[in-house]
Symmetry: C2
Subunit: 417 residues, 2 copies
């Protein structure tokens, strides 16, 4: 008998049929002898419909009222799921964020969890109920209704699991688990049985949409055992935990990529102390996230440097750089699109020299040149032309011994809320 938190995304409960299937799945899990807390997101299109309604009345709706509006999405889900479970003969009780004791700060739209007081939920579970908690929402010290922002429902599930000392937090999604790389790109991508928090974090940050990085961080911090599995099949899924076992001879766990990369180059920058900081502070103040930064050698008191950003920030970034010309002297700024970042991730890299070198040689073996490089203890990333993405990923997947015997399950787009 275990204490299990089960989290379902919006598309898993988007129709009456899906709602019933999820309810049955939850009841089955309880009848195996487990205590069950369920965390659920807003159903399918509810959130988008509410946003549309608000835009008709206020094109820039205040965030406090958006939180008031959008939290009804999860409240509808929990009520309907509880009714469905009760109709099928099991006991269930739903809880909004504030009822579940999910305390946050007052940052509407992107609130941080400050404390969890899950007494009501635990009481319901003790009395044999399946407790159903609204994801994504909380309440501040002042009694304000808040939302957790991106990745909110995953984070709710992990945080509830941590606060209640649950044995497992199961994240149900529309893919079978975490894959060695995107199965839509590499046909023999392999589903991983286990992965460590750090590896999962790198993969999540690198765009593997199956789990939100924030939820993984929370799980790592509180040592919550996560299982990513499919809402639609009974397959085992992938276990995310501290001491994930590496398979024999496998150093790289997975390969991720980000298609949304633009490189900005600033040439002939006057090399005085604080110049670099000035540029990146200006970008940060304008909400532009910078990823890889490369600075060339200084010649004649001038330096070139380049960095990558999300493609949608390109124009904004160029404007910011133009705007600081009075403070930072440089010859010219330019941008390059059509790039991707490919990353290999594996906790074993740190103790296996030559892993990065193998990446560079593999990429060059398919005739592709590397434009930028960035490394960390468990990751190595290369920026390349997007046209070569498929060839490079496939070659790396084979080179690091990740190819599966059979064709992998190909999932649809994941839920991230």
């Amino acid at each position: 008998m275990s204490f299990i938190v089960m989290k379902f995304g919006g598309s898993s409960v988007g129709t009456p049929e899906r709602m019933k299937r999820v309810a049955q799945r939850i009841i089955d899990r309880q009848q195996e002898g487990n205590d069950i807390v369920v965390v659920v997101s807003a159903m399918g299109d509810t959130t988008d419909d509410l946003i549309d309604q608000s835009k008709q009345l206020n094109p820039n709706p205040p965030q406090r009222e958006m939180d008031m509006l959008l939290t009804v999405g999860e409240q509808i889900s929990i009520a309907l799921l509880s009714m469905t479970i009760q109709e099928m003969g099991a006991k269930a009780m739903s809880f909004t964020g504030w009822q579940a004791g999910m305390k946050t700060n007052n940052a509407h739209g992107k609130a941080k969890i400050t404390d969890i007081q899950p007494d009501s939920v635990l009481n319901a579970v003790k009395q044999g109920h399946i407790a159903i908690v609204a994801g994504f929402q909380g309440v501040s010290e002042e009694g304000e209704i808040t939302t957790l922002g991106r990745g909110g429902s995953d984070t709710t599930a992990v945080a509830m699991a941590a606060a209640m000392k649950a044995d497992i937090c199961e994240i149900y999604t529309d893919v079978d688990g975490v894959y060695s790389t995107d199965p839509r790109v590499v046909k023999n991508a392999r589903k991983l049985d286990e992965i460590s928090y750090d590896e999962m974090l790198e993969l999540a940050n690198l765009g593997a949409a199956v789990l939100h990085p924030r939820a993984v961080e929370y799980a790592k911090h509180y040592n919550v055992k996560l299982v990513v599995r499919s809402s639609f099949t009974g397959n085992e899924g992938t276990c995310v935990k501290e001491d994930a076992v590496m398979e024999q001879g496998i150093v790289v766990r997975g390969i991720a990529f980000d298609k949304n990369v633009t490189r900005i180059s600033i040439l002939g920058v006057q090399d005085i102390p604080g110049v670099l900081a000035g540029v990146f502070e200006a970008l940060a103040e304008n909400g532009i996230d910078v990823d890889i930064i490369v600075q060339s050698f200084v010649q004649d008191g001038k330096a070139d440097f380049s960095f990558t950003i999300s493609s949608e920030d390109k124009q904004k970034a160029l404007n910011v750089i133009e705007g600081i010309r009075s403070k930072v002297s440089y010859d010219q700024a330019s941008s390059e699109e059509g790039l991707v970042k490919v990353s290999i991730v594996g906790a074993g890299m740190v103790s296996n020299p030559g892993v990065a070198a193998k990446m560079f040689s593999t990429i060059s073996s398919v005739g592709v040149s590397i434009k930028m490089v960035s490394t960390s203890e468990i990751k190595c990333s290369c920026v390349i032309d997007s046209a070569s993405l498929q060839d490079v990923i496939q070659a790396l997947h084979t080179a690091y011994g990740l190819d599966a015997e059979e064709k992998a399950f190909v999932g649809g787009p994941s839920e991230r809320r």
Copy 2:
């Protein structure tokens, strides 16, 4: 400068255009120098849509989860109304029932208000905000979300006004105010300037849908000055208060009717003590409300009696009476449909003898016979054939001097939630 509670029903905010019109009206009222708290219902079809969704998943949804589900309707309204007001340049803050301190008992679906702690709402008002409170909902001591049932939003408005010691509670609806009788039946029905709580209560109980009786009772108990007025026009409306002034020579304030009347007769009942109680207890246990009761003289140890009920309860009532044959001996039971109850209401009746006699003579003057009669201190009701309704109401309206000079505004169906 006054402290005003303004209550708007669901149809008043059912479209973006109506929402904007209501928002403008609220802002205007604030700019006249008043402190404003708004109570609002769920928009148009929201509630019905949510009920439809629930029925697909559970034909008999548990009331706790229905409260969880249906309270989102008002939460959507308050968020959108607050956004709309802010877009128009005024300050606004929305509050759910629990945030507004609306404490109730735990009777899901028909909770009773036990206490109100409106500190958050009052603070918002003090800071110059228009405070927007979700009607119809509250929270129990145990932190359960509850709904107040029928008349809930009117009751929320009156209760908030009482707790905050507001000067006026304005109920905005789709008619101009309270009329001397239904303007759809009598063309020269007159809009009343004032009416007392007791008179309003009788009219409300008799089917004048403009205000829910529960809200009127609450207003009477806490002496809250109510004003019923139109969402769509600037007209003055009707003031409901303790010391409503009677116009010169007018004793009857209004004429109400109930079309939904069935008479049940039980003939030849063995007249032993407790028989009458046995019949009506059985009806009450089955949820059947009995209105007028008439017992004939006892002859040969047997009595006849008859009573009126809502027509939809006819078959259920006959079944109950058949079911108690073993305990109550009677010759036969029968029912008569196609009846209406016509009532005259006026606080002055008690001190003006002959008011009831005038009613009987007026009805007989148009050739209609009276089947049953019931009187109270401020009301006299007669049951007649429904075919004569129009003639009787018109004759009474003229006889009691209620006819207006001009044709009255004819309103649509009212909101009662």
